[in-house]
Amino acid sequence: MFTKKLLSTCLGAGLAAVFAMSASAADITGAGSTFVYPVLSKWSADYNKINGDKLNYQSIGSGGGIAQIKAATVDFGASDAPMKPEDLQAAGLGQFPVVVGGIVPVINVKGIASGQLKLSGKVLADIFLGNVNKWNDKAIADLNPGLKLPDSQIAVVHRSDGSGTSFNWTNFFSKVNPDWKSKVGEGTAVNWPVGIGGKGNEGVAAYVTRVKDSIGYVEYAYALQNKLPFALVQNAAGQYPKPNAESFGAAAASAEWGTAKDFFLIMTNAPGEKAWPITATTWAIMYKQPKDAARSKAAFDFFKWALEKGQKEASSLDYVPLPETLVKQIEGYWTSEFKG
């Protein structure tokens, strides 16, 4: 027993020494949301070319982003589900939006092309509840007169990990389907009534590609990259807008960031004729008083660059640039909330 204790002490001390030595390197580590992964890794590659700093971002899911920043194993976490202001307060954390994008239902059904299938939020939720389990169910047929629907079981694909994409998805369902609200609720990971789980946006996309007659949901860029057919979703105004930067922007425009403490604001089921109903924001979460000030500073420099100069890349990957007023608010938030 003594030997073991001695050994572990030596090991711990040795490692701590090694880790202390190399803390000066300006390598920033972030982890979390898979929603933001494509744009962050693109930004990272571009920023590296300009500045030399290496930002290593790993998509482990929004839940993971929050978990790892709380455990202080990363320099920033990224989440599509905002943390509540009181939780932030308790943990000594701050959060700010980085990018806006849309979540789309993707399908793999023979004979149905992208954008052909129309679904209301309620029916979509019913599919994910298992209440509607055949593609030629009356509820779907009623919304799609003229579209030939196969007589096959619907294979539901959801996220297996804690995910902000799931958070926004289930948040939308809770707003439009009371059944969903009472039975399942909203969260980064919920107790899914039916379906199979893929890890990350990429996992869901991979499953939808491979499983026949399936429906899943991914961040828009993943649907585009993968050439996955998407379905249209009815918005609060009763319209079926196409998912694109314009409709995501329309939803973002309706948001009132100025009054939201710690930018705590969820944009699903936004009003407006053109607003895409499942529009989401990704927040970066960081310590207000970080253990490692140098890394934290490097991270802020990166985000400053990304918010001011990187929004063009964001649009090229089909995310919505943050409005300029919001960027100003975020920079104000940085100076007032974050030390160092």
Binding site: G12, L15, A16, V18, F19, M21, S22, A23, A25, D27, T29, A31, Y37, P38, S41, K42, S44, A45, N48, K54, N56, Y57, Q58, S59, I60, A71, A72, T73, V74, G198, K199, G200, E202, G203, A205, A206, T209, Y222, Q225, N226, L228, K291, L317
Partner: protein
Amino acid sequence: MASSSTSLYRRRQLGSLIALTLCGIATALGLVFLIWIIWTTLLHGLAALSPALITEMTPPPGEDGGGLANAFMGSLLMVFLAVVIGTPIGVLAGTFLSEFSRGKKLGETIRFVNDILLSAPSIIIGLFVYELIVRPTGRFSGFAGGIALAFIFVPVVVRTTDEMLRLVPDVMREAALSLGIPRWKVTVNVLYRSASTGILTGILLAIARISGETAPLLFTALNNQYWSLDMTQPMANIPVVIFQFAMSPYEQWQNLAWAGAFVMTAFVLILSVVSRSFLNRKGGK
């Protein structure tokens, strides 16, 4: 009477024939799966193989080109760390079992525990090292990854060292000891020397085992999209990159995953075939 006994005999012969044919089919089935898996890896892997694989970094999504250089390097470093940590501990612990604890309860217990560690779920090792290293140091790191691999590496080395040393005839020990040579010298100069091939192949076998391990690296080394030799940082590694890229929707990433899978499988299989053939010759099987 006679005819019924011959018909019974025939029936028994037929039964035997059927049973043995089923055995042949079972073997064929096993071989079919082996060939199927290797064929799949070969087919997808060869197509994606290119020099860029070892000269370029893992690319961001949606960009063409790129390779797995950082992941190969990371895997190499972490396996190296595991070998550096694990070899002395494994060999010495094996020595303890074979030379210093014969017939003792403690030795039996350790051998028992070691055999269980040998087949313990590797994801458990990942959880353990996360608690042991990642949380206290506040960082995912190449060190944590290497140490997690060492936990899997050690039992293999302990087992083979133990077995190989026990194969050394006692005559050699007695002859050396009777000359008045201290025991540690006997162990190092005589026993290790005569069992060296066996111990070495045990180490190779252990390297083969850890080179393909994914589960223990998920929560320890994490991953890194850049070239990094800094063991205190999250580190790219082949298995985790394969896992992430294989599950991705990007074709370029999937191709890289297959190429990585092919290289890794080829490396692991060749290493284990070579070391096993050494081991079998040594074991006199």
